[in-house]
Point group: C2
Chain length 414, copies 2
Amino acid sequence: MNAEIVAIGSELLTPWRQDTNSLYVTERLNQLGVAVIFKTIVGDRQKHLVEAIRNALGRADIVVIMGGLGPTEDDLTREAVAEALKIGLKRNPELIAELYTRFAARRMQITRNNEKQADTLEGATILENARGTAPGQMLDTIYGEHRKLVMLLPGPPSELKPMFDEQCMPRLRELLPQRHIATRVLKAAMIGESAADARIAPIYQQFKDVETTILAHLGDIQLNLVCSKSIQEAAQGRVDELAGRIEEELEDLIYSSQGETLEQIVLFYLELRAATLSVAESCTGGLIAERLTNISGASRSFAGGAVVYSNELKTEFAGVSPALIEQHGAVSREVAAALAEGIRERCKTTFGLGVTGIAGPGGGSEEKPVGLVYIGVSDGESTEVVEKKFTGDRNRIRQYASQQALDLVRRRLM
Amino acid sequence: MNAEIVAIGSELLTPWRQDTNSLYVTERLNQLGVAVIFKTIVGDRQKHLVEAIRNALGRADIVVIMGGLGPTEDDLTREAVAEALKIGLKRNPELIAELYTRFAARRMQITRNNEKQADTLEGATILENARGTAPGQMLDTIYGEHRKLVMLLPGPPSELKPMFDEQCMPRLRELLPQRHIATRVLKAAMIGESAADARIAPIYQQFKDVETTILAHLGDIQLNLVCSKSIQEAAQGRVDELAGRIEEELEDLIYSSQGETLEQIVLFYLELRAATLSVAESCTGGLIAERLTNISGASRSFAGGAVVYSNELKTEFAGVSPALIEQHGAVSREVAAALAEGIRERCKTTFGLGVTGIAGPGGGSEEKPVGLVYIGVSDGESTEVVEKKFTGDRNRIRQYASQQALDLVRRRLM
């Protein structure tokens, strides 16, 4: 079984907006063993909609149509599906009553155009929308002698996602042949995509029944393993076996075997060891603290720290002596160590982390080029400093530096 | 004139990857007065590719095909275009020679499959690729009695973007009727999309020749004004006139009239007033510092500050008295003011900013619910505190709080 996703809305054809619902729907369909073979994005013109829907019906078993169910003149999905399938469209009195009740409950005046949201395709099952006014619809129908499942879903993600999970998924599970999909997500830090692939390709190529995808993003590698079988245990066994073999190969480069983020892992190990962390950030400028505090419950292990952009603040908040900065420069192995040691003392934490570097685009020299970063971590007894030379723009250098810093703490905790 | 964009690659049909090239290409095509009417995303199967390309040729004047030009068996774009247009495909000896030279220069062994990148469509112009091995191709041809422009471009954005700008744009400018497009981008902070639209719709609706798009994202509103005319000055005059009218209506809600970010504007005004800023962040946990330091040159006006997640650090780094925290709670008007005043003194800056709040999901109470945030700003003479109740998840609350804090500083500087 395969599917096509049709995303509707002229705003999705501008340089500023992009369909993202389809990623979510694809993930869910994949869980049912359904592959997405086409995605089409089309504006609010009935002629174009009918063409897109007919194309989709002609080549896919399942057609998921998203958007264009609202009350305005531009919302033409219902009309277009009726035309494409040559079926009727009737205003459903029960749905109109519901619309009036809903508007009244919010003390809002209902306008006439809202009634078109009650238009129902002949033979369709209504999908209730608890979070918006436009209900969805689902059709189990015949097109060109083939059976087709057609879903009409609202465009806003906050309405589409629960509707798909709560109403489409159970129906699809009933209608589709039973497949069991097992997945694993492994993550590794500070290894390039091609370097990782060179090491693990000989392994995953032996697992023809597991689909392995490598995603790389700013010092982070994500390995997605997916296996589909008629028996759940068999599928799970295969992905687990492959995951184990990859973990053996990449060893401590792998920081997560269940998809957690690096900051989640760092906080998890800190808590496990009853340890706490503080940071003194120069070139990352708050990025490491921001990443950690974005995790709920971070305060149990992360005390905080300082953004020490100026030399004065390196002294004021992390006790780095002006003489040391004078002697070695603010971007140096010595200052990174002093930042880590100083912030640890000031914050009374188990570990202190210090980062200094040149994020660019200005400020580089031949001796200390843009991208040079020193990261220090201290536990009071010993201080370790790594020197890195990252390439790319300011954002990329800062992201890599934060990734390297968090990974350094993780390794210290292992 | 209109266009269809066809993005090719099975990875673009997974839950993890998304075509983003089309946003860039759309922006460029719009600059030429060309509207994108369809986007199709298709996997690496020749049958599907041919179908997608034929559909596109049947309905659009310009067909931009991205991806599938590499050396592997999965790279089928050239073959599919040849089949769709029923034209020949020939291995180009000059391109083969270039490929061999390129590989030799990098001291890499060329493999046989690389030669297919030299396959050229009958009648095509070769688009050189300085950043990769796969050249692009451009065809000016006839399909179904209509003239069509077809472009084959490499998938990696780092290759596609310069190729489109340097080689496609000049050719398209020559081939297309001359249109002049003027644009303006206005930005406003801390106003909802529907509230903004209610105020400005009566204005922009009078400018039928200017297309106005409103984008909203986490407390930030972006208004895109686009006008296309045969004379540049006329188009520019209209967008400037509309921009002026919108600025009059929204007054100081508008922080940028040329598309700058809020953090850029804050840093610009700080520098203009020869003023400096420091921050003490509790609930935003480094996000404000991170946003400011992501701008190159931030160090001229932004000294740094502290991430004071724990109460101890509020005292240690911003001198907030434990008694004050005890009396009013860490999330209070009084502590926000003390954070702003304390960090300003410690960092010796013109302004101090203090943020405390409950980002959730835990930690809320009836009296102090999740989303409650206090933001203080002090210049040493007076301290202003705003109280806000944001809704949504942890990330959203933190983003709104950082936006509100930066906007508060901006207003103080106006």
